[in-house]
């Protein structure tokens, strides 16, 4: 699993500065990766199963509502990247922001994928986003 996250996060290049590579590979990538996956899953569950099924809200199932959740997923994913990098006290470098931006994109990708998989279980939003 570490290998998977390492592959995923090094698509944008090696960690910088190079001296922090072990911390990124062993701690930050797996942490950020798992947290982002969990976050996206949670948001999808909230959107499809909490709001649009359990609570039975009927007016929050349009594409624009889904996009709000997509954006929330991106913003929180970005913050997860910054937070994890800072909490592991890595040397500051602009790479932290690149990595977090990449994580925001990944957060949206996860959110989209979970949406596709789980939307059928929703009563009010089974056709959102399409």
């Amino acid at each position: 699993m570490k290998g998977f996250f390492r592959f995923l996060y090094e698509l944008i290049g090696s960690p910088q500065p190079p001296s922090e590579t072990p911390v990124y590979r062993e701690v930050i990538f797996p942490n950020v990766g798992l947290l982002t996956l969990g976050l996206s899953l949670a948001l999808v569950l909230i959107f499809y199963y909490l709001i649009n099924r359990a609570m039975g809200v009927a007016t929050f199932n349009k594409v624009r509502h889904w996009v709000i959740f997509l954006v929330i997923s991106a913003v929180l994913s970005f913050l997860i990247g910054i937070w994890q990098a800072n909490s592991q006290a890595v040397a500051s470098h602009s790479y932290i922001y690149w990595m977090s931006t990449w994580n925001a994109i990944l957060g949206m990708v996860w959110f989209f994928l979970f949406s596709i998989i789980l939307k059928r279980g929703s009563t009010n939003a089974s056709t959102t986003p399409f």
């Binding site: 001296s19 701690v27 942490n31 798992l34 969990g38 899953l41 949670a42 800072n86």
Partner: protein, 450 residues
């Protein structure tokens, strides 16, 4: 609630460093929160039991025997009190005796005057002799026989003998001069001590009295003497471990010239430093490098990219506090620190001592007293050992303090007759047949990044 349970499960699987050093407070609450819902998290507590640091024999030394030579040649160092100023020798020797007498790190102290054989004295008597001068000078003492006595009669585990003398060895005739080193070797070797070590500390002092040159071809004695300073020495003789500890306890405080024979030192603490003057693409290659345990040390360099245009530079921090001053001197370290490597052009580019800046830094460099910077532009296809070695080279002062003819000492300056031959004799015993062992060896690994 389903989503929060899912988050909690994911969080509990998170990786976290087991030990935070600086700035860890920010994350600690989170790790505690996240581990709470998953009690089956089998992570060991952060209080990793530290291996108790324990020397082989950390207790006090059993005994130190001080031998002060009181032959006529020493009178100039200890002139009879005449109201004049005392000599630097008197100042220093009295101070040393007092330090030793006070020391709690040596259990038993005995004091001897060396005439033709050692005579037991008390601290007061010997100190008095140093202060107010030699009352009844002995006829010249023969260095090899004194050394023989020390190693055969006063040699004991955890004990040292300290011989204070000018070490002017005058052979019976000119034909015996080439055998000086052999005489010393034979004397030290007679008792067959396998762990024998000798530390030599050299000092100079003003000298007011008759000087008896070793070479008596021109004059038997120079009186009054001398316009120049005259060297004197403390030789610490004993088992290697005891000599090392005695040196550190009592002889490292004062600046002195020094040379060590057969003394073995524990390998000093060392580590690569990944946030100190590092250049290029490399990181710690250790498997647990990401944990960054406080106080951990690293010795593997994983290089992800290197070329002549983009060299890799890394710094190895060394804590040489446990070594004597000789081996902490940057001027000694520069020529004698060497790097043995394979399939690489790794070489030492600089050696420097800690500065106030490094000592006060919050980084790992504050643990180390010296730094060695290594540059690499090329490396092998797989992991290769890299060894940082401090060679045990005869220090340069020995040659400078040696004279072949001391019959005109005022012109020769502060030198001792045949000093290097005497020390050749010592070295022959302590090094034995094998090659000179280095002071320390620090193994490193240089490998391409995976």
């Amino acid at each position: 609630m389903l989503p929060s349970v899912a988050v909690a499960l994911l969080l509990s699987g998170c990786y976290s460093r087991e030990d935070m050093n600086a700035g860890g407070e920010a994350t600690r609450p989170e790790t505690e929160e996240t581990t709470a819902p998953a009690p089956n998290d089998s992570k060991p507590a952060p209080t990793t039991a530290e291996a108790p640091e324990q020397g082989s024999a950390a207790g006090p030394l059993a005994q130190a025997s001080i031998f002060l030579e009181v032959s006529g040649s020493m009178e100039g160092f200890m002139p009879k009190a005449s109201g004049a100023e005392n000599t630097r020798f008197q100042q220093h020797a009295a101070q040393f005796l007092s330090d030793l007498n006070r020391s709690t790190a040596v259990q038993r102290k005995s004091y001897f005057r060396i005439k033709e054989k050692p005579y037991a004295d008390s601290y007061q008597q010997l100190s008095q002799t140093v202060r107010s001068g030699i009352q009844q000078p002995a006829s010249s003492t023969d260095i090899p026989s004194v050394l023989d006595t020390l190693v055969s009669r006063y040699y004991a585990p955890n004990s040292v003998s300290v011989l204070i003398s000018d070490f002017i060895y005058s052979p019976k005739n000119a034909g015996a001069i080439p055998y000086i080193s052999t005489d010393v070797t034979d004397a030290l070797n007679r008792a067959g001590r396998s762990d024998l070590a000798v530390s030599v500390y050299g000092y100079t002092s003003d000298f007011r009295g008759a000087f008896y040159p070793a070479l008596k071809t021109a004059v038997k004695k120079i009186n009054p003497c001398c316009d120049t300073d005259i060297p004197y020495y403390f030789w610490v003789v004993g088992p290697a471990d005891a000599v090392r500890r005695f040196d550190a306890l009592l002889l490292e405080r004062q600046p002195a010239q020094q040379a060590h024979f057969g003394v073995k030192y524990p390998t000093p603490a060392s580590s690569l430093l990944n946030r100190f003057q590092n250049v290029g693409s490399w990181y710690y290659g250790e498997k647990d490098a990401s944990k960054r345990t406080a106080g951990a040390s690293y010795h593997t360099v994983a290089v992800s990219k290197v070329s002549a245009q983009e060299p890799v530079e890394f710094v190895v921090g060394l804590d040489l506090k446990t070594l004597p001053a000789l081996y902490r001197d940057v001027n000694y370290l520069k020529p004698n620190l060497q790097l043995q490597a394979q399939d690489t052009d790794a070489k030492i580019v600089s050696v420097f001592a800690a500065t106030d800046q490094t000592k006060n830094s919050s980084g790992a460099e504050n643990l180390y007293t010296h730094f060695v910077k290594v540059r690499v532009t090329r490396l092998g296809k797989a992991a290769r050992p890299l060894q940082l070695t401090l060679n045990d080279q005869r220090p340069g002062w020995i040659g400078q303090w040696t004279t072949k003819n001391d019959s005109n000492i005022n012109q020769a300056g502060a030198k001792t007759f045949a000093l290097s031959s005497l020390l050749d004799g010592v070295a022959a015993v302590t090094t034995g047949e094998q090659e000179q062992a280095p002071v320390f060896r620090i193994p490193l690994t240089l490998q391409p990044a995976d």
